[in-house]
């Protein structure tokens, strides 16, 4: 079977660790990773718990295909109650850490309590120790990984850790592994920090064996890899241009949220696009992009490895940033660039490096800066308060505030609260471009109507990865739908949400779904896992996972009114482009979506739905 059937439970208050058998009944109903870890979490914590209190728990979880030869089979999720939203938080990462944890013999690690002083968790197969991390506290992600590799005298250990922002409680602090892959959203890093937990260090040499049908597994995974290779998006677009392939596409259709969503097209998009990353720079004649990198097991390899311009003002005196590093990905290029009107691609890469180095989410950070700049232009915030002049388009303000946020200095402390709290503090809650307190990603809900519903109903707050209807509405995968209409979108969003919940629970990357349907993943699961893994079962499972998360949020206090978009998207029409004149039709879509979901008018699963899903 594809599970190790073991979970590691760590209580930081008592400083105890113990091995427990995996609940296989739950694995059968919730698969792994997102679904299974959420099942554990909702069964063990009070939904009303303060996310940053010792009573919250945080779980690192792999899926049944993590650590196998299935393409992209290296994912892990971090699941907890999130401090940015107060909702369920589930953040997914690639790199190599997830597979290493599985190779060490663990399906998941459940962390409870709070250590009285900084600690890290060392896992070498069965040998688990809670170790002192006082010498690591105050160190960046990059310093932490280097120090731990050196202290363990093993360059092959994998590290998943927080930077200074996680320690300081920045509400969108990330957990970073392998230097620049991150469980980036919803502030999972702040929860680790609140527990005085700096890092997990793992070395696994046991591997993953005992698949249900190894021969069939090899055959089917090879076939499916071929589909990824031959698909235009996963075989060419993503490896060549990365997710940044979208920058010009989304801008052209007028769905590029610009300057805190005041505009829907960014005149500087071309300068910060994938194409720009390929072009030689004036200063040194080199392109920013060095090459691409795959995560563990990934045959797509969308990851960007870049080198910043050494003469750029941000790094001219800081050689430590001159080496190759992760970025830019589309979401970061958008949030650090378009959301603030900044078109200096080197400044964006610098800010992105700081996000990796000190572990904070570039989406929420960049979008928060968008709000800061709007408040500055309105005269609500001043140069004195911020520490720099901060009009839209100021690269200097962006990089200054990235430094301040990374270090927890000055106005960076306010920026670290996220846009919702920041905008409330300055009397303009309507200017926070967020849902449930989490900032929007890089698609405008006026130009792509399905994404508005995606954001409004996402269980972890605004997020594109919960139902990426861009696939259908823009790219035509699996079928093209009109991005400007609300018609049919509730059903589309529901279908994407349920399918994605399964992908996120399997150990695979959601980017495979540009080429794969769930029916391409099903035979891989069937060959790896014992028992029946029919499409019917997976469809129902996706729906079950979605409703389980929803029930947790309902119990945490979320209601119908939280499934909404900021007034700007409902009243200020797109000014230009193909979506000109449109606002989001979210209010029309919600009732239909609730009905399709089997929820009452307040967004609560009905007794019948609960029974049907076996919740």
């Amino acid at each position: 079977m594809a599970w190790t059937r073991k979970i590691l439970r760590v209580n930081l208050t008592d400083r105890t660790t113990k091995s427990e058998p995996l609940n296989m009944e739950w694995a059968n109903d919730y698969l792994g990773q997102r679904g299974l870890a959420t099942k554990y979490l909702v069964s063990e914590i009070d939904p009303k718990v303060d996310p940053l209190s010792p009573e919250n728990k945080i779980i690192w979880a792999t899926g049944p295909l993590t650590g196998t030869m299935a393409s992209t089979g290296g994912r892990y999720s971090v699941v907890t109650k999130g401090p940015l939203t107060g909702a369920i938080a589930c953040s997914n990462s690639g790199g190599y850490f997830g597979a290493e944890l599985k190779f060490a013999g663990w399906d998941m690690v459940i962390i409870e309590g709070r250590a009285s002083s900084p600690v890290y968790l060392s896992i070498e197969n069965d040998k688990v120790e809670i170790r002192d991390a006082s010498h690591l506290w105050g160190k960046t992600v990059w310093e932490t990984e280097e120090t731990l590799k050196s202290e363990h005298q093993d360059p092959q250990v994998r590290v998943s850790c927080i930077g200074r922002t996680g320690e300081a409680g920045v509400l969108y602090a990330a957990i970073v592994n392998d230097l620049h892959r991150a469980a980036g959203r919803s502030g999972v890093g702040a929860v680790a920090g609140s527990k005085n937990l700096k890092a997990l260090v793992v070395r696994g040499t046991l591997g993953v064996g005992n698949l249900a049908n190894p021969k069939e597994f090899m055959k089917v995974t090879f076939e499916k890899k071929k589909i990824l290779k031959e698909n235009a998006v996963t075989g060419q677009g993503l490896p060549t241009y990365g997710t940044q392939v979208l920058m010009n596409v989304i801008n052209e259709i007028g769905a590029m949220p610009t300057r805190n969503h005041k505009d829907v097209q960014f005149e500087g998009a071309r300068k910060i696009s994938a194409e720009a990353m390929h072009e030689p720079r004036e200063s040194d004649g080199k392109a920013q992009l060095v090459n691409n990198q795959g995560c563990f097991g990934c045959t797509i390899a969308c990851g960007r490895i870049s080198k910043i311009d050494q003469t750029h003002y941000t790094v001219v005196n800081s050689p430590k940033y001159w080496g190759a590093s992760g970025g830019l990905e589309y979401e970061a290029a958008w949030s650090l660039g378009c959301a603030n009107g900044v078109d200096d691609i080197e400044a964006l890469q610098y800010a992105n490096m700081l996000c990796n180095e000190d572990g904070f989410d570039p989406i929420s950070f960049g979008a928060t800066i968008g709000a800061v700049m709007e408040l500055y232009e309105m005269g609500v915030l001043t140069k004195e308060e911020i520490g720099i002049e901060a009009p839209f388009g100021s690269a200097r303000a962006l990089t200054f505030l990235a430094e301040q946020t990374a270090r927890g200095e000055g106005f960076g402390k306010i920026v670290g609260l996220g846009s919702k709290r920041l905008c409330e503090k300055y009397g303009h809650p309507e200017l926070s471009m967020s849902v449930k307190g989490q900032e929007f990603p890089a698609y405008d809900a006026r130009g792509v109507q399905g994404m508005g519903l995606t954001y409004a109903t996402s269980n972890r707050g605004a997020c594109h990865l919960r139902s990426y209807t861009i696939s259908s509405e823009v790219l035509g995968i699996p079928v093209k739908t009109d991005p400007h209409t609300t018609e049919g979108k509730p059903a589309l969003v529901k279908a994407f949400q349920d399918a994605t919940a399964v992908v996120d629970s399997s150990g695979l990357c959601v980017f495979t779904t540009f080429a794969w349907a769930l029916s391409d993943i099903q035979p891989q699961l069937q060959a790896a896992c014992e028992g029946d893994w029919s499409m019917e079962k997976l469809d129902l499972m996706g729906e079950r996972i979605w409703n389980m998360e929803r029930q947790f949020n309902n119990a945490a206090g979320f209601t119908r009114k939280d499934d909404d978009l900021p007034p700007r998207l409902k009243t200020e029409a797109a000014k230009v482009g193909p979506a000109k004149g449109l606002v989001s039709g979210i209010d029309k879509m919600i009732p239909e979506y609730y009905a399709l979901r089997g929820w009452d008018s307040e967004g609560r699963p009905t007794a019948e739905t609960v029974a049907r899903l076996g919740l």
């Binding site: 196998t68 030869m69 040499t205 591997g207 064996g209 090459n291 990934c298 390899a301």
Partner: protein
């Protein structure tokens, strides 16, 4: 025709499919720590380099072995470790200038690439063509073709 493994680091994305294929072929598990091919990720430069045994003709490991546990496979030129003969003395690991023969504590024997009997699993699994199994006399053919293309086609 003798074939050999050929590596083009510029095509490697560090996905580690080769390492998993190797461990699966030889041990029936996905376990990168048991792989005979290893990908090195030099994060400071961005270089990713797969590395394994190149099957030297005058193989240091074979000559150093005191019990003749490493033998030539005449069909494909591989130098193959015979586990039933190997005594785990590790002298070969010292003799090999490239580090590509290594001790396995779990078995008490050494292991190295044996070209999977002439059908290397790593090359088959590599999604980008960074690892290929090609005519040993013409490992440079692809690169020659690229330059010839530049000379004859792109320049024209």
């Amino acid at each position: 025709m003798q074939k050999s493994l050929h590596i083009d680091p510029s095509k490697c994305t560090s996905c580690l499919q080769c390492e998993m294929a190797c461990s699966f072929e030889n041990y029936g598990v996905f376990n990168n720590s048991l792989s005979r091919i290893k990908v090195f990720d030099f994060h400071h430069t961005g270089a990713k380099v797969p590395y394994t045994c190149t099957q030297c003709d005058e193989a240091w490991c074979m000559h150093a072995c005191p019990v003749e546990a490493i033998k030539l496979d005449k069909d494909n030129g591989a130098k193959v470790v015979f586990e039933d003969v190997c005594v785990g003395c590790k002298v070969c690991t010292i003799a090999c200038p490239f580090g590509t023969v290594n001790y396995v504590a779990e078995t008490g024997k050494v292991q190295k690439c044996d070209l999977c009997g002439g059908n290397p699993a790593c090359a088959e699994a590599c999604p980008t063509g960074a690892i290929t199994y090609v005519d040993a006399n013409w490992t440079g053919l692809d690169r020659m073709r690229q330059w010839a293309d530049k000379l004859g086609n792109q320049a024209a």
